[in-house]
Amino acid sequence: MKKLQFLAIAIFSLLFAACGDSNSTSTEQHEHFEVEGWRLYSSEWDTLYSVYRGKEDSKLPGLKVNANCMSAHIHVKFLDENNKEIAGPNDDEHSLGWDVADSKILDIHFEGGWGFHLKGLKEGETKLVLKVKHHDHADAKTPEIQVIVDKALDADKCPFQEDEDED
């Protein structure tokens, strides 16, 4: 009978030990970058796209690129709650992120900072969502932005050549 009592105590101890592992979060909470809108500029600082509180400015040309070509540098700025333009966070924690709905049509070339290039892969239309990445999540994101990829051009006929100076 004593053997059984030992067995019972051993089982209960084992059960107790089984719940002894720590349980805590692996990601930390951080302050977040909140914006009410986004504005995208061409390399010549012409406004290509703007959205404020979900309302897109339909008078703007939008984002276009030819297949087989890279667009000129596109600058990203943000709009605060007063519709005032602000720059992106200048720290190591935040960076630009994106989702392309059809990655066979469009690719993004990123060279750091708050800007990017469109790279047309195949003629067609797709959607782009830009994000402010912060650690493992997104602090802010755009609505789905329509991107038109026009017909393919030979590399030497692309409006923007990759070796051109920017800004």
Binding site: A8, F12, A18, D21, N23, A101, D136, H137, A138
Partner: protein
């Protein structure tokens, strides 16, 4: 049939209950052909009758589905709040979240399913031996929210049933005493079962294997479970990212030392499930959620030598819950880590003065929650303490039985500083809580009972309701709490009539609750433009909920069987227009006819819901639906084992079903036609 009814009737007789002998005879004649079990009851007649609503054994096998909520969905006053097939939680009388407590083996189910529609109940329904919806005054043994209810899930993880001698009552769940079945003379017993479930509506399977054994007084239990289901099929195509993968195990042991019994169990549950996308502001591909839950439960019983039914029990549960929401493989949208400890001390007394079925106890609870990722709630420690009691009495008037219950206590919140929270909102909050209920059950004629339950309901706000200030990606909402909230409170009543006749049984009930401060997140119509999410603000409003339910049954052990039930509830906020409350289920009907042979049961069922046009601001209307189903069951014993096969076809005509309480309703309908099979062998 109605074994528990007889148990209640005969038990009351034996204990000097209100049933006089002539009535008991009439009552038994009314109810037909069951075996009368004479045992000491500690419950009222009404509680005995309510036990007939429990789902267990074949009745549970017949209804088993993907989740607990789906399994009990046709019980009176029940609806489902959902966000995909995995994230489904029961709603009672139009009340959800913290109004509906879920317990496992009598102690809290430590998950976060009450706080957000995308959080699943962390319990595998296939591992449940019994599901019960607690109503009436007994709710207060588990919760302050008397207006809602308690869903009791019994796993029997601590195998006391094998270790205890016959006749000992164990408070396994809210005032529901498991009376131990006789043990055999043999020193070694082994029981086991294997259950498999598969379906076509969400292609996949679930399996559970369980073994119970007793070796020289040491009782052991082991259980393994797994579920693997792919995306749900709807009439409009597959609903992406609704797959479910659950794995779990449980082990338990109990041992007897003279008048003391001790037991322990450990239950581990892992789940990986998807929340579909496609909402405004949501990720196109939805959100993947990984969670685990671990419960360590220790339990001690003391059985007094002079009266072993007057059990004293102490239960300690240590719970860990971890939940991570992945927006993509790279992005952790939200992370929660909850550590909770709970102690329950309960005493059962069969008879004491004018009272019987006395159940009183105390509960202490400590909970710590940490958040990570994109969650704007500060880490918070919370504590709770409460005393509760339920007792019944009779004898004042022929056929009148009264049950009184009360719960007193407090809840204390201690948020910690956090970079994500508004410093002004990080404020300690203390809440004094009290709830009472009184149920008057009058036998108005043989087999006919009229019951009035009056109650005060309350609950403390949740941590999220107090302190949250940010987006919840998986729920597609931007949630704003309010640290100045008061505790929710209200008064209510329910009037019920039950008639157990020679041919049919029926019941009808109406209920109403007047909330002085009903806490709920309400859509404000504003949007958080950083995340493009609709803003929900928690507010406390005066509100009125009115509803009713009715059911009728033509019972049979063999031959023709029929059953039907309907539920309706409406809710209003008190303002100039008495505007409708959000997330109120529409009128729903469910009916079934079946034919029963000795080992075979065949049936057809129908379910319909009316359109819900009574909606809160910014809430969408939902169309009605009708579905039809069929079932065929086989149950047979063979060579020391019992086998069951349940074949079921649901929504056979592939109807477009929209659940008003699902946030997916604007994207896709619920499950389309579905054929399922459950096979079970017990030895």
């Amino acid at each position: 049939m109605k074994t528990s009814l007889f148990r209640a009737a005969t038990g009351s007789l034996l204990l000097g209950g209100f049933l006089h002998f002539s009535f008991a005879q009439e009552f038994i004649q009314d109810l037909g052909n069951s075996i009368i079990e004479a045992e000491k009851s500690t419950e009222t007649i009404l509680d005995g009758l309510r036990k007939d609503d429990e789902l267990q054994a074949e009745k549970l096998d017949r209804k088993i589905s993907t989740t607990i909520a789906e399994t009990i969905k046709n019980a009176p006053d029940i609806a489902i709040r959902s966000m995909g097939p995995a994230a489904a939680r029961p709603v009672i009388k139009g009340l959800s979240g913290s109004h509906v407590a879920i317990t496992e083996d009598g102690s809290f189910c430590g998950d976060m399913s009450a706080t957000s529609p995308d959080h699943a109940v962390a319990s595998e329904v296939l591992t449940a031996h019994k599901l019960r919806i607690t109503r009436g005054p007994q709710i207060l043994t588990q919760s302050f929210a008397a207006a809602g209810g308690v869903i009791q899930v019994e796993h029997n993880d601590i195998p006391f049933e094998i270790a205890l001698p016959q006749g000992v009552a164990i408070p396994t769940t809210a005032n529901q005493n498991t009376t131990v079945q006789p043990t055999t003379e043999s020193n070694t017993q082994i029981h086991g079962f294997i259950t498999d479930y598969a379906e076509s509506g969400q292609p996949g399977f679930a399996t559970i294997i369980g073994v119970n054994g007793n070796i020289h007084g040491l009782s052991l239990k082991g259980e393994l479970s797994a579920r693997n289901m792919s995306d749900m099929k709807t009439p409009n195509g597959n609903l992406k990212n609704t797959d479910i993968e659950n794995k779990g195990f449980a082990i338990g042991a109990s041992y007897s030392f003279e008048r003391f019994k001790i037991g322990a169990s450990f239950r581990n549950f892992n789940s990986n499930y998807g929340i579909p996308g496609g909402f405004i502001g949501g990720h196109p591909n939805g959100v993947d959620i990984d969670l685990f839950k671990r419960d360590l439960t220790l339990r001690g019983l003391y059985l007094p030598a002079q009266k072993s039914s007057d059990t004293l029990s102490v239960t300690f549960r240590l719970n860990q819950y971890h939940h991570t929401e992945y927006e993509t493989k790279e992005y952790v949208g939200a992370e929660f880590a909850v550590n909770q400890a709970n102690v329950r001390v309960e005493k059962l007394i069969a008879q004491g003065g004018p009272f019987f079925g006395i159940h009183f106890g105390a509960e202490l609870d400590a909970r710590s929650i940490e958040m990570g990722g994109y969650v704007f709630t500060p880490p918070t420690n919370s504590y709770a303490a409460s005393l509760f009691s339920v007792a019944s009495l009779n004898g004042w008037r022929d056929g009148l039985e009264i049950t009184l219950s009360a719960r007193f206590g407090g809840a204390f919140f201690r948020p910690r500083e956090s970079v994500v929270a508004d410093k002004g909102a990080i404020e300690d909050r203390n809440f004094a809580l009290w709830a009472i209920a009184a149920e008057f059950s009058q036998r108005v004629a043989p087999g006919k009972f009229l019951t009035l339950n009056v109650f005060r309901t309350t609950r403390a706000p949740t941590i999220e309701e107090l302190y949250n200030q940010g987006p919840h990606l998986a729920a597609y909402t931007y949630e704003r709490g309010n640290h100045k909230l008061d505790a929710e409170s209200g008064y209510g009543a329910e009037l019920e009539f039950r008639d157990y006749g020679e041919i049919i049984n029926w019941r009808a009930a109406v209920h109403s609750t007047w909330f002085l401060n009903h806490l709920a997140p309400r859509a404000t119509g504003d949007t958080n433009w950083s995340q493009i999410l609709p803003i929900y603000q928690v507010s406390g409003d005066e509100a009125l909920l009115i509803g009713g339910s009715a059911s009728i049954e033509l019972p049979a052990e063999q031959g023709f069987y029929a059953q039907a039930g309907a539920s309706y509830v409406c809710g209003f906020y008190q303002n100039e227009n008495w505007s409708d409350m959000p997330q109120i289920p529409p009128f729903k009907f469910h009916g079934e006819i079946a034919y029963l042979w000795t080992h075979v049961r065949a049936g057809f069922n129908a379910e319909f819901a009316l359109a819900q046009n009574r909606t809160d601001r910014y809430e969408e209307r939902t169309p009605g639906y009708a579905t039809f189903g069929a079932s065929l069951e086989f149950h047979w014993p063979l060579t020391l084992a019992h086998y069951s096969i349940v074949l079921r076809g649901d929504n056979l005509f592939n109807a477009d079903v929209r659940n008003h309480l699902s946030r997916l309703k604007s994207v896709m309908p619920e499950k389309g036609h579905n054929v399922s099979i459950l096979a079970k062998a017990e030895f």
